[in-house]
């Protein structure tokens, strides 16, 4: 190529930019344009997925676990109210208020979830089912309460139905779990959105850089200038864009991985713990209201809780989170102490005392556990939000940079090839 260019120059005898060099600049400009387009599209795709995470995926995961906590708290309080009022006992009004307060939070949480789940039909159906079940649950609780107050036979079956609606195989907690799973899948997709475009943009930028370097080496042999400022400037712009794009996307990915850890792992572990603990409590209540020793919490549930607690401790990645995980463990142990007394009463056949223990210490300690777990969840949420916000801030201005820098690089490259007096040999 160099020989051809020199021949062309010598034949024409005119001091102008050789045609082959126009071809070079054309190639560089084409690559710059493609790099700009791919970079811009990659950033747009990543921004869109980031917005989805900020406005949809994250809030849905968190609100769903908040909903689970509300249902668990409402049901624990309702059970305490019911058991305190059984056999003509005085209903625990403070627990009734706690039940009402927890139940009152649930519709807003459902609304928050609904606003963020997009158009996924499975998730919509699961949420719709939870909303219906919640309404049904409130009705069943009132019927159970009324029957209990009037000492009617139907009271216990109504309470059993309410327990089934919350923790049963097709209960609200199961449906909430479905929402969480689907949303976490969506989150995983969003994390990697734009990855292909980003890689392609990177390849084109690197190729452009190589072209610019070769061009400068070639021009040194054709011109009197040691340094072609136009091409050097162009190279600098491309290097800046390449480094900026790489740093921003790698940093963003690290932030999102961190968010993923908070959202998918920590929250999943907390959710699993919440579900297992609730299952334990439901089994305990079932054993009391049906006066059945065989229905006391089984070893599988206990092991699942131990495993979840271990996982929650293991995943805690800040001093504060570790402190909260320790508190969750301590409060669970307190509940287990109360539960041990309850189980002993059930095994002795002393169901009246077992009921009193559930309404008193059992319920209080369970609420302590449940609320501290909720606090841990809220901390995870804040960490998640902070990571996602940081991830999104890394793309700030980059979409402008992706268009402006290649444009400037193109102008500089073109200027670098412009003919100047006596420049070419």
């Amino acid at each position: 190529m160099t020989n051809v260019a020199q021949l062309e120059l010598s034949q024409t005898g005119r001091r102008k930019t050789p045609t082959v060099l126009y071809m070079w600049v054309g190639a560089i400009l084409t690559f710059l344009a493609i790099s700009a387009l791919l970079s811009f599209l990659a950033i747009q795709t990543m921004s869109a997925s980031g917005s989805r995470i900020v406005n949809s995926t994250g809030p849905v995961v968190i609100s769903t676990q908040g909903l689970v906590a509300s249902i668990a708290e409402a049901d624990a309080a309702n059970t305490a109210v019911f058991l305190s009022g059984i056999d003509g006992g005085i209903e625990d009004v403070s627990q009734r208020r706690l039940y009402e307060s927890a139940l009152a939070r649930a519709p807003q949480q459902i609304e928050d979830i609904s606003a963020g789940i997009g158009d996924d039909e499975t998730t919509h159906n699961a949420l719709k089912q939870v909303a219906l079940q919640l309404t049904e649950y409130a009705g069943v609780v009132e019927r159970a309460r009324l029957a209990n107050a009037n000492d009617l036979d139907g009271a216990i079956p109504e309470l059993e139905e309410s327990l089934d609606l919350t923790g049963g195989p097709n209960g609200m907690l199961r449906n909430a779990s479905e929402i969480t799973t689907r949303t976490q899948d969506q989150f995983s997709n969003d994390i990697f959105a734009g990855g292909f475009l980003w890689a392609a943009a990177g390849v084109f930028l690197v190729v452009t850089l190589i072209l610019l370097v070769i061009a400068q080496v070639r021009l040194r042999t054709l011109t009197k200038r040691l340094v072609n400022f136009g091409l050097v400037t162009s190279t600098v712009f491309v290097v800046v864009l390449t480094v900026w794009l790489a740093a921003a996307t790698i940093g963003r990915q690290a932030d999102l991985d961190n968010a993923s850890n908070e959202a998918s792992l920590d929250i999943a572990a907390s959710a699993s713990l919440q579900a297992s603990a609730f299952e334990y409590k439901t089994q305990e209540t079932g054993a009391i209201i049906r006066e059945s020793r065989a229905e006391l919490p089984n070893q599988t549930t206990v092991e699942a809780i131990d495993e979840s607690l271990r996982r929650v401790n293991e995943l805690a990645d800040s001093n504060r989170e570790r402190a909260l995980a320790v508190e969750v463990q301590t409060r669970w142990d307190r509940y287990l102490d109360a539960s041990g007394v309850i189980s002993a009463r059930v095994l002795q056949g002393n169901f009246a005392e077992a009921r009193a223990e559930v309404s008193g210490e059992g319920n209080q300690t369970f609420n302590g556990f449940n609320t501290s777990l909720e606090a841990l969840l809220l901390l995870n949420q804040e960490q998640f939000d902070a990571s996602v916000t940081s991830a999104e801030s890394r793309l700030e201005w980059l979409n402008y940079g992706a268009l402006i820098l290649p444009f400037l690089a193109g102008v500089a490259a073109w200027l670098g090839y412009r003919p100047r007096i006596n420049e070419y040999f």
Binding site: V93, R320, A323, S372, D385
Partner: protein
């Protein structure tokens, strides 16, 4: 004391405007500030909430050189207007490290992002927090505040002067006591009791029922029913004979009974208003770690037992009953006092003010302040 009319008007109007303006402020973020040990801590609390000799115990157990403990928190309105809002509104560095507003105001501070998240890693005694205090909607699990003491607003009276027991809000509002009754200066408690008299539920207020409660108080005030607005000074007003009966805070009423058994404190038949004052660390507090050390110290059941035995308010610290029993004597009798450790029967008669939307609450506060201005403060 901030009981002058002008000062009160100034602080109340600023509370309303300030709260509105801060509605758009940044919310508390997830940033985990690293607590560092300092040699001092500046605390602002209500009066008669702590035996001051306990301060030496704190410095002795934590190694801190200085505790600047001020009993300057008179009421929530002046506390907000004179202390909290001027120092925290613009994100400055406050001259205090820990303050103890009532729970509703703490909730507002948290919403405004004016409160540091608690460094739970150096507050291991957080685990001693009674779960009953962990369910507030504004701070589930208590990550931004730790209750100092709870209390009940009921009725304190002198049976010799009333001539008959005053066991209900209805009786407190009876024209027979006209001109001899004290009105508590906290809106949620006074209006809450009036709502109970109306048969409404202050735990689930709506604008109409709350307005009806306030209207009842205004009607009574217009009829000259209230002699004065009181805070913790209700004790002096009762003992001096200025008041025959008053809305009263449980801890000081119980202390009054110890000194003067002729005075009675009752949870009205309709119910009482429960509340708690809670420790918060303001944003950018200089001695953040030391404030956390104070919280941790206060949540040691042995310390909490001494605090409860002093102020007789509702204790939020698990294990305190056992600690009181182990002290024996007078302290041991407090372990079964339902005013400090409410039993189920007592709890069933308590109502915690439920939140209304901010605009409605501010409107109620403004109208209640006008009412207190009309009635006048005890001197």
């Amino acid at each position: 004391m901030l009981r002058s009319r002008r000062a009160f008007l100034r602080r109340t109007s600023a509370l309303g405007v300030g709260a509105f303006l801060t509605g758009c402020a940044a919310t508390t973020t997830a940033t985990e500030r690293v607590p560092r040990a300092t040699s001092t801590v500046n605390i602002i609390n209500w009066a008669e909430y702590l035996p001051l000799e306990a301060l030496d115990l704190f410095t002795g157990s934590t190694g801190l050189a200085t505790v600047n403990y001020q009993e300057d928190y008179v009421d929530n309105v002046s506390g907000f207007t004179n202390i909290i809002e001027p120092q925290l509104r613009n994100g400055g560095t406050p001259n205090f490290d820990l303050i103890v507003p009532t729970q509703w105001l703490a909730g507002r501070m948290i919403d405004n992002g004016w409160v540091e998240a608690l460094p739970l890693e150096i507050i291991p005694n957080h685990v001693n927090l009674d779960p009953r205090f962990m369910t507030s909607d504004f701070d589930r699990g208590s990550r931004f505040q730790m209750p100092w003491q709870g209390g009940m607003t009921g009725i304190s009276y002198n049976p010799e002067r009333t001539g008959q027991p005053v066991t209900s809000v209805e009786q407190l509002f009876d024209p027979a006591l006209r001109g001899r009754v004290g009105l508590i200066g906290e809106m949620r408690e006074a209006v809450g009791l009036a709502m109970l008299a109306n048969g409404d539920d202050p735990a689930r207020p709506d604008p109409e029922s709350a307005a009806a409660g306030l209207a009842l108080l205004i009607e009574l005030a217009n009829a000259g029913h209230f002699r004065s607005v009181v805070f913790d000074d209700f004790v002096g007003e009762l003992t001096s004979g200025n008041l025959d009966a008053t809305m009263a805070w449980s801890g000081q009423a119980a202390a009054l009974q110890l000194d003067s058994p002729e005075f009675e404190f009752v949870i009205p038949n309709e119910g009482a208003i429960s509340w708690f004052d809670t420790m918060v660390i303001p944003k950018n507090a200089v001695n953040y770690g030391s404030a956390a050390a104070w919280m941790n110290w206060a949540y040691d059941p042995a310390v909490a037992a001494q605090i409860s035995a002093f102020n007789l308010y509702v204790c939020p610290v698990l294990g305190t009953q056992d600690a009181l029993r182990s002290l024996g004597g007078f302290e041991a009798t407090l372990a079964d006092n339902p005013l400090i450790f409410p039993d189920t029967e007592t709890r069933n008669r308590l109502f915690t003010w439920g939140a209304l939307d901010l605009a409605t609450e501010l409107d109620l506060e403004a109208r209640f302040d006008a009412l207190t201005e009309q009635v006048g403060f005890a001197n």
